[in-house]
């Protein structure tokens, strides 16, 4: 372990001496003679650095990047026969033979854990000296720089930085509202009345009370209702996460607002306002309940949910499933808890075995330059897009090919999980009108809440967290489902529940969370 660290330090030392101090602009090509760097690139769309994971072919984007930078990325991906990213990363680390660049999905945790052990090169000084574009981006977003740091205060990877704000939204069958002569619900009380009306007044007009007023695809989405009682269900873009409350990290499921919110959800479930098969319906819930004209309201992704208006236009007369603003909570707050996270645990890092760290960081920097970012987002200019009035615009054959634009981009080598800033203009061009209207509606108010971007534990903190938290979370979810299903009453059980959490080490977990949080975000 020590030797890796020393090797890395030696590389840094020598290169820092020999490399000329660069000006703010980048010079292309980065190297005069072609330089080959090996890369591990394992991500959901492709296991390997080539179109669809076929490493015998070269991405059109990579060809242009080679031409411009003279740096040639050569595939050396571990675990190409599995789509399980975790497994691939473990295989890679277990071999100990790391390629020059390690990239892909969910690399933050391993990179920040093994970086300080010497497996990856710290990037702080390299970025300062050789990567003006990366530096400029993070100077504007210091909170994100803090969020990607490892516990030793160093940064070990350049993240994929998604653009765009909204992810999921509240959707309602506007045609059902019209049929029953109701307004779109604006408060939690009105929401309740609408759901009761959906249940009792047969809005689908088939003469049976078979409507499911509120349904979700992932059962966890039902917890978004908690925000209507000023509680939270998560602090990030995945479920059940910690969040920051008054400058302190806490878990949403240990707050009193949660107790009251969950009591109401249980009440709604009992009254039949929420899908009775909530926990087993699974991912086909939306297809089935919308397709059978049974579902009235949900919380789901803007783009894909809007798509049902086209898919079901012929099947269900007047089908109109549209986004509406989150209802105001009991205290009059209106929030949309779910949003796109501004920084992903995906991206790329430089491994200890890389002999060209300066060239590599310059190469990383290329993808943050205007030219590189356009290439990473839209593909090759003149092939998939043109610059029209200073805006990158997709060619008609890309927009109207019948295949989703993102799938086309993945094959071009654009929108790959490099470390690069995503550009929302890429997605907006192929977002449907109904979703665009919804996004504009959500943009009309200040709905979003701060995301908790996570902390990097040191070894002792990680140990405490690993020892206690998996069991605590299991217990939280067990009680949560039991209360929703009506076995036990959350208000009666609350004191015992909190006592049990503390007994299981909840306070210790909070302590390490907060010490890590302070270290990470205090400067």
């Amino acid at each position: 372990m020590r030797t890796f660290k020393l090797a890395a330090a030696a590389i840094l030392g020598t290169t820092a001496l020999t490399a000329p101090a660069l000006a703010q602009d980048i010079d292309l090509p980065i190297v005069d003679e072609p330089l080959e760097l090996t890369i591990h690139m394992h991500w959901p769309r492709a296991q390997g650095y080539g179109p669809g994971g076929d490493t015998s072919k070269i991405y059109p984007v990579e060809e242009v990047a080679r031409e411009r930078t003279n740096i040639h990325l050569v595939d050396k991906t571990s675990g190409r026969n599995t789509t399980d990213n975790n497994e691939a990363m473990n295989l890679l680390l277990a071999t100990g033979d790391l390629p020059d660049i390690v990239g892909g999905n969910l690399i933050k945790q391993p990179v920040n854990q093994y970086g300080p052990e010497g497996a990856f090169v710290p990037l702080n000084d390299l970025v300062d000296e050789h990567a003006p574009n990366i530096k400029a981006w993070f100077d504007e977003h210091p909170d994100i720089w803090d969020a990607i740091k490892a516990y030793d205060g160093n940064v070990y990877y350049i993240p994929y930085l998604p653009d765009g704000k909204y992810a999921r939204a509240w959707f309602v069958r506007q045609d059902w509202l019209d049929a029953l002569g109701l307004e779109r619900p604006d408060t939690v009380e009105e929401l309740y009345d609408v759901l009761v009306a959906f249940r009792d007044q047969d809005p689908n007009g088939n003469g049976e009370q078979d409507e499911i007023p509120f349904f979700v695809r992932d059962w966890e989405e039902v917890l978004r209702l908690l925000t209507l009682w000023d509680a939270r269900s998560t602090g990030a873009d995945v479920y059940h996460q910690f969040y920051v409350k008054d400058g302190e990290v806490v878990h949403p499921y240990a707050q009193e607002a949660y107790r009251d919110g969950l009591a109401n959800i249980a009440q709604w479930y009992e009254e039949g306002l929420i899908d009775p098969e909530l926990f087993t319906r699974g991912s086909s819930a939306r297809d089935y309940l919308l397709g059978e004209n049974l579902g009235g309201m949900t919380h789901d992704w803007f783009a894909s949910t809007s798509g049902y208006n086209i898919a079901l236009a012929d099947k269900i007369e007047g089908f109109n499933f549209i986004p509406f603003l989150p209802p105001k909570s009991v205290s009059g707050n209106r929030i949309e808890e779910n949003r796109r996270i501004p920084m992903k645990p995906d991206g790329w890092a430089i491994s200890y075995s890389n002999d060209h760290v300066v060239e590599t960081i310059k190469y990383f920097d290329f993808w943050f330059s205007e030219e590189g970012a356009l290439l990473a987002n839209f593909g090759v200019e003149g092939k998939t897009w043109d610059m029209i009035d200073g805006e990158p615009v997709y060619k008609d054959e890309v927009l109207n090919s019948g295949r989703p634009v993102n799938s086309q981009m993945y094959l071009e080598g654009a929108q790959v999980y490099r470390g690069y800033p995503q550009d929302y203009r890429y997605e907006w061009q192929w977002t449907r009108d109904s979703a665009r209207k919804g996004i504009e509606l959500y943009d009309s108010e200040d709905l979003l809440v701060e995301q908790f971007l996570g902390v990097s534990f040191n070894k002792d903190e990680q140990e405490v967290y690993d020892r206690y938290f998996p069991s605590i979370q299991t217990y939280m979810l067990e009680r949560q489902q039991a209360w929703i299903l009506g076995s036990g009453d959350v208000k009666e059980d609350w004191d015992d529940y909190i006592a049990a959490l503390n007994n299981m080490g909840y306070q210790d977990v909070l302590e390490v969370m907060n010490s890590a949080y302070e270290r990470q975000y205090s400067n």
Binding site: Q109, E117, T280, G282, D466, T474, E478
Partner: protein, 334 residues
């Protein structure tokens, strides 16, 4: 004759000769034993060649991974590797036994296995006996195919079928209950229903296929026994009790011992597909606990400790079962 003193004295020199001959023969035999083994191998090499894949499989997939078991006693870092990670003794085991959820999982594993054994083990025997009594060949073949079929369906699909069958709105179970005026039950979120559903599904899926072993054993029973029984005027019922069952009893006991050895290896992929936090109370077993803590939570060393403990318990169970069986029925695995 041996009491005849004359015989002894007259045999005196002969005995020496005999001893010499015997020793000589033994020496020759010893030398030729190697040769005989060689001859045997030469003659039967095909049989031994057929053993090789199994031995390779054992070594590669069962013995070699044992090297990795040491991480149960180590503070394992995947980048440092198995050998370079520091030893920490029994710390993971201490954590394990202070974890209520592990103890609950262990209890659930034992309960579910015991129920599985109690209800699941006799079914394939009944099935085999019943198939044996069917005289119409066409009907027999069809019935067998139907009961084997679920074995060949993937667990994911079986779980889908189960979830649908027990759905409160569209499921066949609740529909039938509805005819009798029973309110729909959301079975898969009720802890008290999880075990019956899981064990029932297991029986439905595997009983038919497992009955093949017993059918084979029944086919091996000598027909002369039945013929003489018929001559003696035995009924079919008597023949089943007096001939068939005693004849296949060794098979039954061997299957039972094997089954006890695997008692802690519940088909946990099925549990993962069917359980919910709401049913963890009765559904969470050691393997699902390991899956959540170790693979989802990334605690490989801790999960290895749980897995090792599981194996130790299984080992004790199979040893005990084998010893008991050896003592009382003279049938045993080794």
């Amino acid at each position: 004759m041996s009491s005849d003193p004359d015989f002894i004295s007259s045999a005196g020199p002969k005995t020496e000769e005999l001893v010499f001959d015997a020793k000589e023969a033994q020496r020759r035999r010893r030398a030729s034993r190697m040769q005989r083994v060689g001859d045997h191998l030469k003659r039967e090499w095909q049989l031994y060649a057929m053993l090789i894949p199994t031995i390779l499989w054992l070594v590669i997939f069962l013995y070699k991974p044992m090297y990795g078991l040491q991480i149960a006693f180590k503070d394992y870092s995947i980048f440092r590797g198995v050998a370079a990670s520091p030893w920490i003794g029994f710390e993971h085991f201490e954590t394990l036994f202070n974890n209520d959820q592990f103890l609950r999982a262990l209890r659930n594993t034992l309960i579910m296995s015991a129920y599985g054994l109690l209800f699941g083990f006799p079914v394939p025997i009944f099935l085999a006996l019943m198939f044996n009594e069917i005289l119409n060949q066409k009907f027999k073949k069809t019935a067998q195919t139907i009961v084997y079929l679920p074995h060949f369906i993937s667990s994911v699909i079986i779980a889908g079928i189960v979830i649908t069958a027990f759905s409160p709105s569209a499921g066949i179970v609740n529909t039938i209950l509805g005819w009798f005026g029973v309110d729909a039950v959301y079975f898969l979120t009720k802890p008290e229903w999880f075990r019956p559903i899981f064990i029932g599904t297991g029986i439905w899926q595997e009983a038919g296929f497992q009955s093949i072993v017993y059918l084979a054993a029944i086919a091996g029973v000598s027909p002369t026994l039945y013929e003489s029984a018929v001559v003696d005027g035995a009924s079919r019922w008597q023949m089943m009790w007096k001939i068939t069952i005693p004849s296949i009893l060794p098979t039954i006991i061997i299957m039972l011992i094997i089954r006890i050895g695997n008692i802690l290896e519940i088909s946990f992929e099925m549990i993962i597909l069917l359980y919910q936090p709401a049913t963890y109370q009765t559904a969470d077993v050691v393997n699902t606990f390991i899956y959540r803590q170790g693979l989802q939570g990334g605690q490989y060393d801790f999960a290895a400790a749980a897995g090792l403990f599981n194996a130790v318990v299984a080992f004790i169970l199979v040893m005990t079962a084998n010893t008991i069986s050896k003592r009382y029925s003279r049938t045993s695995l080794w």
